[in-house]
Structures are given as structure tokens and as C-alpha cells.
Amino acid sequence: MPPAFLAAIDHKRLGQLPRQMWNSSQGNVEVWANVVIIAWAAAFMLWQGEGFAISVGTIFAIWAILAVSLNLVVGFTGLLSIGHVGFFGTGAYVMAVLSSTATYDQPHSVGIPTFGLPFFAALPVSALLAGLVALMVGIAFNRFRDDIYVLVSFGFTIIAFNVFLNWSSLTRGPFGIHEIPRPEIGGMVFDGELEFLLLALAFLALIVLVSWLLVSSSFGRVLTAIREDERAIEVFGYRATHYKLAVWVISAMMAGLAGGLFASWTSFIDPNSFILLESVLLVCIVILGGLASIRGSLLGAMAFVLLAEGMRFLPFLPNEYVGQARQVVLGLLLVLLMLFRPQGLAGRYKL
């Protein structure tokens, strides 16, 4: 005779318990993802100390600006672009060329013009020039949609990378540009890491605010309509091409701004920071976080940065493999996501 309390357990129901828990958690994946990622971030930063936390925060801010801005195009408007890194690079190079104070007087070194502009004067130029490039590219891109859009934006990324690499008289090609100064305004220098983090977060807040205003306005509603049925909206009196171009340029300007921040933060840039892979990772972040969800992009960027930086501390992983392992893990994550949660952590739409 088993004891009474064991007999009282309904084994059938007990067997169903995991499934029930799974089912009830399904609707709250977003909440769980928030909790897990934020807890993970907090624990990780406490463990690794202040300096690490600050640098992770800054990387997060830059990736988050990129992800939010790309989501305007990919998520809200439905144009799958892998050309975003081109605008990021444009912004970074504009910042580097305009503000770098380095002199290249060694023999055989490639010299470039020095302007020595302060950060806050160069940053608007970064955004504007990225926007200008986007305007020119976008006029051509507007003819395309769906799969073709991926291809043409792929082409743009390749072209942008080659321009960075080969326009030596302006970008120093593979040698890169040094001594890009930190922001400075009215005697206040953002040279400390903490100060820069706060500045980057302030810019992120600005971008999130602007994006939120955009998507919750009637402009945003037209974007959603374009995403669903680009042809139909012409009938209601809109030129889809104008709206597509507008959001494309706005998004590129935000990426240019992120590029300016990035250049100033690292103080050295070369073309390797602006390869196609970065663009693909960025699209992964947007999908991971959730299409057409600004909150999702923030979440996705945080998860990605934690994953990328966190893998450095895995005891069994030799340092030289960290880079490759990151890509494997991210790719695996994306496959699992597409299988089990195609709308991403916080999204409403499926790809």
C-alpha cells in the first residue's frame, strides 16, 4: 500500500504539468524575454564590474540605434534591406574625416585632408550625408520590392564597403583613420567612458522618441499599409514611392548618426567595421527582437550584445574562436526563432 499522500497525487495531471506550464507561458514570451534579458544583463555587469558594464552599455546604445532605425524600414514598411551598414559606415567616415586631428607625416603613409571639426559640428553632417546617399540610392531602390529589395541592398553594401576600402585619398583605405576625438561642447569633454555612455543613451532616447512619434502618426499608418499592400494604397490617393523614400532616408540618417557616435567612441575606424556581415547581424537583431516593434529592437540589441560580449568569458572557449562561435550561436538562435517564434521576442508580425 503506498502512503495516502502519494495516492492523492493525480499522476495523469502531473504528466500534463510541463505542457500546461509551457502553454501558459506562450502568451507571455515577451514578458519573460524582458525579465530574462534584463536580469542577465544586470547579473553579468555586476559580475564583470563597472568598466565592462559601461562598455557593454555603449555598444548596446549604438546597436540599438541601428536596430530601431532599421526596424522602421524592415519591420514597419516591410522592405527587407541588408544595406544599413552602408549608411552606418558613411556616417562613421564623415565623422572620422571631418574631426580627426591625426597627421600622417611618416614616409609612405597615405595622407588625407584634416578638418579638425568638433564632434557636435560633424555629427549633423554625418546624418545629413548618410541621408543624401540614401536619397540617391533610394530613388533607384524604389522600383523594387520583396526579394529583389534584398538583392539590391546587398549590392549597395558591397559598393559602400569598396568605396571605404578604395577611396584612399579620403578614407586611407585599409589603414583606417586614427585619432577621432571624443565629443566636446562648451568646455565639457565626454572623454570618460561613463560620460560617453550617457551621451550615447541620450541619443538612443532621442531616436526612440522620434521613431515612436513617426510610427504612431498617420505617416506610420501609411507605412503599415505599404507593408501589407503597396499597390492598393495608390488607389486611396497616396504615392507609395514617396513614403518609402521618406522612411528610407530618415532611417539612413539615424544610422549615420550611429556611425558618427561609433567613430568617436572607438577613435579609430577602418573598412572592416562595415562589412556585409554587420548588416546581416543587424537584420538578425531586428527579427530576433520583433518586426515593427521598437521595444523589440531594444530587447534584441541587448540580447545580441550580451551574447556577443558574454561569450568572451566562457571558460571552455579559447579566445581565438570567440568570433566564429558567436556567429554560430546567433545563427542557431535565428533558426530556432524562425521555427518556434517567427514573430520574434516582442513582435506582432511574422517575416
Binding site: R221, T224, V235
Partner: protein, 243 residues
């Protein structure tokens, strides 16, 4: 005649989708375009909206020539309700309706139109905060009609408004179309495959076959001849009849 197509030909390469089609619709009239699949019924409406290349002939709108890009036409008082409803499923009912007249700057006018459309379609008022994807096919058709009416059009172009709907809903859609025509005095050019239903509302109808108008007249005249049998089932040649 408010809208008049004169010898309009539409071509995709060597194929002629419409061949010298002439038809017109007067103020407050309901005109139907009928015919078998591939006859070019929908192309008539698309030619008016500038969605297909008109290679010959002219479209007149209120005595003037109608030459405008697709997105300008709705501002001239012609609204199009596309085939398959094509509502924006990720927008709410209200937002869908707003899409119908977003080009208007006047907020009060928008609200006024919204109220009158919701009065005409109580179901849209009831579900105004729901996403369009949560509606049934018939309700989505009502939404598509309402969205077209938001432009306050003088002429409504309906492309197969009852396609894929249950018979009981089909009746309701025809009722609403008749109501729109009576209450708002909106002219309606409708492409339909449901002959019985549509002939009960129209003043005149054109029968299209292989891009040409083969018959034009009152519903009565169409039912009296066997033109519909011919275009839908094929003409029987005398030799075949003998055999």
C-alpha cells in the same frame, strides 16, 4: 454621362485585354459589367484608375479627359473598391477607414465622413477598435465598401464585391450597394459574376467577351436574349447543332 469610356483598348504586349470598349455611366446610375473569366471585366475598372496601360481610346470624366496618376484619381471623386477586399489586416477598422481619406487635411470633415459611414454600416461602428483581420469575409467587404465611401466619391467602382462570400452575405452586400446608390446618389460601376443578384440592382449592363463589348442594354434585354449563355458556354455553330 458622367464617366465615359470611348474606344478604350488596353494591352499587355501583344495581348489585348480590352479592345475598343465603349461604355458610360450617368449620375446616380448603377451599371454592371459582366462576362466570363478573362473577358476583361476588371480591366475596365483598372483602366479608369490608371492601373493598366491604356494604349488607345479615351476616358472622359464629367466632360473632361481623365488623365491623372492613380493616386490623383480618388481626389477627383472616383473611389475604387478592389477585388478580394484588400483591407489592411494589421490596422483597426477605424484606421482602415481613415486610409480612405488620409489625404484630407480637414479633421472635422474626416470625422463627419467616418460618422456617416459607420451609420451606414453599424457593424463597423461595433468593431471599430478591432483589427480588420478579426473580421469575417463579409464584414471585410463592408469595410472595403466603407473605406471607398470615405473619399465621398461621386462614382464608386466595385470589383467583384461578392467574390467568395456566402450566399446570405452576398444578398446583404447587394442590399448595401443599393442603399449607397439610393441614399447618397452615388453612381456605381460594378463588375460582377453573380448575374441574378447584380441585374436586380442595375439600370444598364454591358456584357464583355474576350475584351469586346458584345451586348449593352437594360437587364431585361440581357435576360431576353441568350447572349449570356453564348458568352459563358460558347456559341453553338449551325454545323455543330446539326451534328
Amino acid at each position: 454621362m458622367d464617366l465615359q469610356l470611348v474606344d478604350v483598348s488596353v494591352g499587355y504586349g501583344a495581348v489585348r485585354a480590352l479592345d475598343e470598349v465603349t461604355l458610360g455611366i450617368g449620375k446616380g446610375e448603377v451599371v454592371a459589367v459582366m462576362g466570363p473569366n478573362g473577358a476583361g471585366k476588371s480591366t475596365v475598372l483598372k483602366a479608369v484608375m490608371g492601373l493598366v496601360p491604356v494604349v488607345a481610346g479615351h476616358v472622359y470624366w464629367r466632360q473632361g479627359l481623365l488623365v491623372a496618376a492613380t493616386h490623383e484619381i480618388v481626389k477627383k471623386g472616383i473611389a475604387f473598391v478592389p477585388q478580394g477586399r484588400r483591407v489592411f489586416t494589421h490596422l483597426t477598422i477605424r484606421e482602415n477607414l481613415e486610409m480612405g481619406c488620409l489625404y484630407l487635411a480637414d479633421r472635422e470633415e474626416k470625422e463627419r465622413r467616418m460618422d456617416s459611414v459607420m451609420e451606414l454600416f453599424p457593424i463597423l461602428y461595433e468593431k471599430r477598435r478591432d483589427l480588420a483581420s478579426q473580421m469575417s469575409g463579409g464584414q471585410q467587404q463592408m469595410l472595403a465598401l466603407g473605406r471607398g465611401l470615405m473619399a465621398d466619391p461621386e462614382l464608386l467602382l466595385l470589383d467583384e464585391p461578392t467574390l467568395g462570400l456566402a450566399p446570405i452575405v452576398v444578398k446583404e452586400v447587394f442590399q448595401k450597394v443599393a442603399e449607397i446608390n439610393e441614399n447618397l446618389n452615388t453612381s456605381i460601376l460594378v463588375v460582377e459574376h453573380n448575374i441574378k443578384g447584380v441585374l436586380s440592382l442595375t439600370d444598364r449592363a454591358s456584357v464583355l467577351d474576350k475584351g469586346k463589348v458584345v451586348h449593352h442594354g437594360s437587364p431585361q434585354s440581357i435576360l431576353e436574349t441568350d447572349i449570356l449563355t453564348e458568352v459563358f458556354l460558347g456559341r453553338v455553330s449551325p454545323e455543330e447543332e446539326e451534328a
